[in-house]
């Protein structure tokens, strides 16, 4: 087993003690990339060996001089390709950004750099994070390392496969409607979507600004807590950034759920949920009960209204956010055109893929005069009702347990033909974004096809520690399972 089979914290400790050098860790990541990348396609860009070595040397010096003292110093990380990285191609997996080299670095990534992490590359995703399978990328689909005929989920598909296939030590993803929690479930890794406002969105290429959050993906809960502690910060450059009282997420790594009140929303376990997934989730509940958690079922209303509300809000925000791609300031410009307006139209029509166009069209429609109140404002009112439902639930519960997806990973090519069916797959994850809640996905087994199943735990806003503690306690009952491609 190579160095990439270790958790980020384990590897960080070995680097700190001098047992492993920063260069050796980076080389191990590059070796594993060479081994599997041709099959999996986790990355849009892998940095050059020279650049990585230069950075590794710099970090090694920094560790020696006491500049980098945190747990992630020298540890190789992969970054989802919708976060700006100074001097490194950032495509959002779109043709329209096929040549975009940012002049600044996203705040969350900057926080990792300050902690001495070593960036290895930029991971593949659904174009502009719009999709649930990582098949809408302009740079080719990413494959699930557990079974390459299946999708890894999305939109942070490459982020999750890079961790699962050991092509990095840990990675950053982003979650607008489940884009961290669902692919983590499909790939057998752990990820957190923090409370809205916890991690700065500065430098994250916006999709649905009121829903987007950056979060960690890693092999276990302890890694995710340590990474979140590193990337979370109050940032005046993001006007929705929240100044939190406490960023000490690793203090919640305690194996104790005695008296923890856990709610099971009945509506999340009804029709449409795969029986094997259901059984696996209830096994998690049994483990937590055994450890002293107090579990009961409850009615969470409005579940079926979350998806339509989400697609109105996300598409509306996307149509506005993506107006900046015009072939003037950066990115792709159509080669042939006739005047300014024709250039804008042709650039966008040639630069965006079908799913992105579909959502820009829908968003433009629901924001247009005559429809604005009926669709957009109605969706915002629904969002308020959904938030109210969760507020009520969290009066009685510390943690809500649910599946991350109705099924395990589908085969490539099965999802894109029917958009509504694909959107329905987001039913268990979307509400957390509408209500701003933190959520974590932890692996909890495999189905009869050998594909991973993940359990999702949701907490009230600013209650990351409760879900981290519950997830950590559950995790103690189970060994991390590597996918066979790593052997």
């Amino acid at each position: 087993m190579g160095l990439m089979s270790l958790t980020a914290i384990q590897l960080g400790n070995k680097i700190k003690s001098g047992e492993v050098s920063v260069s050796e860790a980076a080389e191990a990541a590059l070796n594993d990339i060479n081994k599997v990348e041709g099959t999996i396609n986790s990355y849009v860009t892998v940095l050059s060996e020279d650049d990585i070595k230069k950075r590794a040397k710099e970090v090694q010096e920094g560790i020696k001089n006491g500049i980098y003292t945190g747990p992630l110093a020298g540890v190789p990380v992969a970054i989802k390709d919708n976060m700006c990285t100074e001097g490194i191609l950032t495509t959002c997996s779109s043709k329209i950004l096929n040549n975009f080299v940012p002049t600044y670095t996203a705040e969350a990534v900057l926080n990792l750099n300050k902690a001495g992490a070593v960036i290895i590359g930029k991971t593949n995703m659904d174009e502009f994070a719009m999709g649930s399978t990582t098949e809408t990328s302009y740079y080719g689909a990413t494959r699930n390392p557990w079974n390459t005929e299946h999708v890894p989920g999305g939109s942070s598909g490459g982020t999750c496969t890079a961790v699962a296939a050991e092509e990095c030590s840990f990675a950053l993803g982003s979650d607008t409607g489940g884009s961290i929690r669902q692919p983590c479930s499909f790939c057998g890794v752990t990820g957190i979507k923090p409370t809205y406002g916890t991690v700065s969105r500065y430098g994250l290429i916006a999709y649905g600004s009121s829903l987007d959050q950056i979060g960690p993906v890693a092999k276990d809960v302890a890694d995710c807590a340590a990474i979140l502690e590193t990337i979370a910060s109050y940032d005046p450059k993001d006007s929705t950034s929240v100044k939190r009282d406490d960023y000490d997420f690793t203090s919640a790594l305690v194996d104790d759920v005695k008296g923890m009140r856990i709610g099971i929303p009945k509506e999340y376990f009804g029709d449409g949920l795969n029986e094997e997934v259901k059984t696996a989730i209830f096994k998690v509940v049994d483990v937590l009960k055994e450890k002293g958690a107090v579990v009961s079922e409850f009615d969470l209303g409005l579940v079926t209204y979350a998806i339509p509300a989400y697609y109105v809000i996300a598409s509306a925000e996307a149509s506005s956010n993506l107006a900046r791609f015009d072939g003037v300031k950066y990115g792709y410009r159509a080669e042939e055109y006739n005047g300014l307006h024709n250039m804008l139209k042709k650039t966008r029509s040639e630069g965006f893929g079908p799913e992105v166009k579909r959502r820009i069209m829908l968003g433009s429609f629901v924001l247009s005069s005559g429809y604005y109140d009926a669709y957009y404002i109605k969706a915002l009112r629904t969002k308020a009702l959904i938030k109210r439902e969760f507020d009520k639930a969290f009066e009685n519960y510390d943690v809500i347990i649910a599946p991350a997806s109705p099924d395990t990973a589908p085969k490539l090519g099965e999802s894109l033909s029917d958009p509504i069916k694909m959107y329905l797959g987001d039913i268990y994850t979307i509400s957390a974004n509408l209500a701003g809640l933190p959520g974590i996905t932890v692996p909890c087994g495999t189905d009869s096809k050998g594909l991973p199943i993940g359990v999702q735990m949701l907490g009230d806003c600013f209650s990351e520690k409760k879900i981290i503690q519950t997830a950590y306690s559950y995790e103690q009952s189970r060994e991390y399972v590597r996918c066979s491609i790593c052997e």
């Binding site: 950066y330 139209k345 579909r358 429609f365 247009s368 629904t382 958009p419 509504i420």
Partner: protein
């Protein structure tokens, strides 16, 4: 399908979205948008008359700061990403004769 999207609507949305769709794309967009709106119409079942629209989950206020420049002049780097630039400016196609 309850929502039938007309050619005029798709044409109009295309103008708002600054997208030029081929005839085949237009037909597909009419179908997709129609079925999406059928699905979204489900929201009509909810009585939201006494609910304020919520754009953000937390109360957000304007964030003010002193009008002081903190970043340096990065124009050369920024312009290097432009498809076309000249004399420190972005170049766009002619907009009028």
């Amino acid at each position: 399908m309850a929502n039938v999207i007309s050619d005029e609507t798709i044409e109009y949305v295309g103008i708002l979205a600054k997208l030029e769709l081929s005839d085949a794309e237009k037909e597909q967009a009419k179908k997709d948008m129609g079925s999406m709106l059928d699905y979204i119409d489900k929201l009509g079942e909810l009585d939201t008359s006494d609910v304020e629209p919520m754009s953000h989950v937390f109360p957000v206020n304007n964030v003010f700061r002193e009008d002081v420049v903190v970043n340096g002049d990065d124009s050369a780097n920024i312009l290097s990403n432009a498809p076309e630039e000249k004399d420190g400016s972005f170049v766009v196609p002619k907009t009028f004769d």
